[in-house]
Amino acid sequence: MFNMIISTSTATIPDKITLPERIIKSIYYQEYLKSVNYFEQEKREPEWLRSVTLELIKREPEWLRSVTLELIKREPEWLRSVTLESSLLTENIEEITLESLNAAEIFNALRLQRQEIELSIVSKFKNIEQVTAIYTQKYRYELQIIVFLNMETYNNGLMHKLLDLEYDLQKQFQEPLLAFSYIPKIYKNRRDIVHPNALLIFEK
């Protein structure tokens, strides 16, 4: 994954919808299929898949736009890489939809990988008394993890204990690169310290 290509494609299709939105449509489409128990039913024809997708695109443009904006805000790097996957798309709407389904699968895989890492981090750190909160944020190919501590002055004993846990996680997850930071109690508001788009994954 270290040779993952990052791109900022801004290509559009004739109906003026940008590529990231197409990807969101396919994610939404997958959710829709789950909701109608599509995967538990008999095998459907590809033509049926395409017609349902196109119908969704027609019906839900505003909703899709808002979700796209949220995704761009929260996961810009992943979204850009996924967008590149869709740059092979043609101007044909049906082909675009099918291609974006593939892209959505990649995106979902990355999202699931992050969730798995975050769950492991929380399960390791939650029992350490001095850990008050944990945030994560993406930077390039790093997943930055900010661990807030109830520590007024630097405590080497505590830090070595935390680093033991971090080491296990670093060994377990080679990709993306995990970048831990430990913040003592030096702030008035935690949110001042993390990136505005950082996710709170644990709090006491």
């Binding site: 040779n3 990052i6 790093e142 630097y154 080491y167 030096i186 702030y187 508001n189 310290i193 505005p196």
Partner: protein, 224 residues
């Protein structure tokens, strides 16, 4: 970036500053000097690990995207190399010094310009014991586990001036099996052969360079 000797020389210079500042007391700056010492000790050992490649310094091996831009930050990449090439103990001590020194310098990094901190300057986070821990526990741990003294001894034999490839092979074999100069000299050539640490040619090569410096393996000394 420099070779092994240059890195060690810079590491020792920074370590001396850390010791000097500990007595003043500038505990925060002592920890920072410790960190810059640790970086050079690590880079010295990475130089030996990668001496035959074109990536003798950690920053020359950082993964890049298709535009040649770094995918990860240099400090984080160095930590990954330490994790992959050295012991957990080295990694943990290095990480601890780095965390402390970054807090001492930056209170970490804060993207929000309106950040509201307590009215406490960063140096107040650290006491004498913290700086002493960085210097006497963590940095010593790094030096010991990286076998810096043994590396220095082996480089002092100047084997690489005669045959750099063979010299590097011998140095890496010795570093994999011995911790100190004394262990190497005490074991003697008989043990070397018996344990198959070095082959016959390598042993002769090492012995010649020891003799050039007025040294010999213990079994050679015993005979005389």
């Amino acid at each position: 970036m420099g070779d092994f000797a240059v890195h060690v020389s810079q590491a020792k210079h920074n370590e001396s500053l850390a010791e000097f500042l500990l007595d003043k007391p500038y505990f925060d700056w002592s920890i920072t000097a410790c960190f810059y010492s640790a970086i050079h000790y690590v880079e010295a050992r990475l130089f030996i690990e990668f001496v035959e490649s074109d990536k003798k310094h950690s920053e020359t091996s950082i993964p890049v995207d298709d535009k040649g831009e770094w995918l990860v930050t240099p400090h984080r990449w160095r930590e990954r190399l330490i994790q992959n090439h050295f012991s957990k103990s080295v990694w943990k001590s290095f990480r601890n010094i780095k965390e402390a020194s970054e807090l001492a310098r930056y209170l970490s990094y804060f993207p929000n310009k309106q950040a509201s901190f307590k009215d406490v300057p960063s140096f107040k986070l650290f006491e004498f014991e913290n700086a002493q821990f960085s210097l006497d526990i963590d940095l010593e741990n790094i030096k010991r586990d990286l076998r810096i003294e043994l590396c220095e001894f082996l480089y002092s034999l100047e084997m690489e001036k005669t045959d750099p490839i063979r010299a590097n092979l011998i140095i890496n074999k010795i570093l994999s099996n011995f911790s100190t100069k004394e262990e190497v000299l005490q074991l003697g050539k008989t043990s070397f052969k018996k344990q198959q640490y070095l082959n016959k040619e390598e042993l002769i090569f090492l012995k010649q360079h020891l003799e050039n410096k007025g040294l010999s393996l213990s079994s050679d000394t015993d005979k005389t």
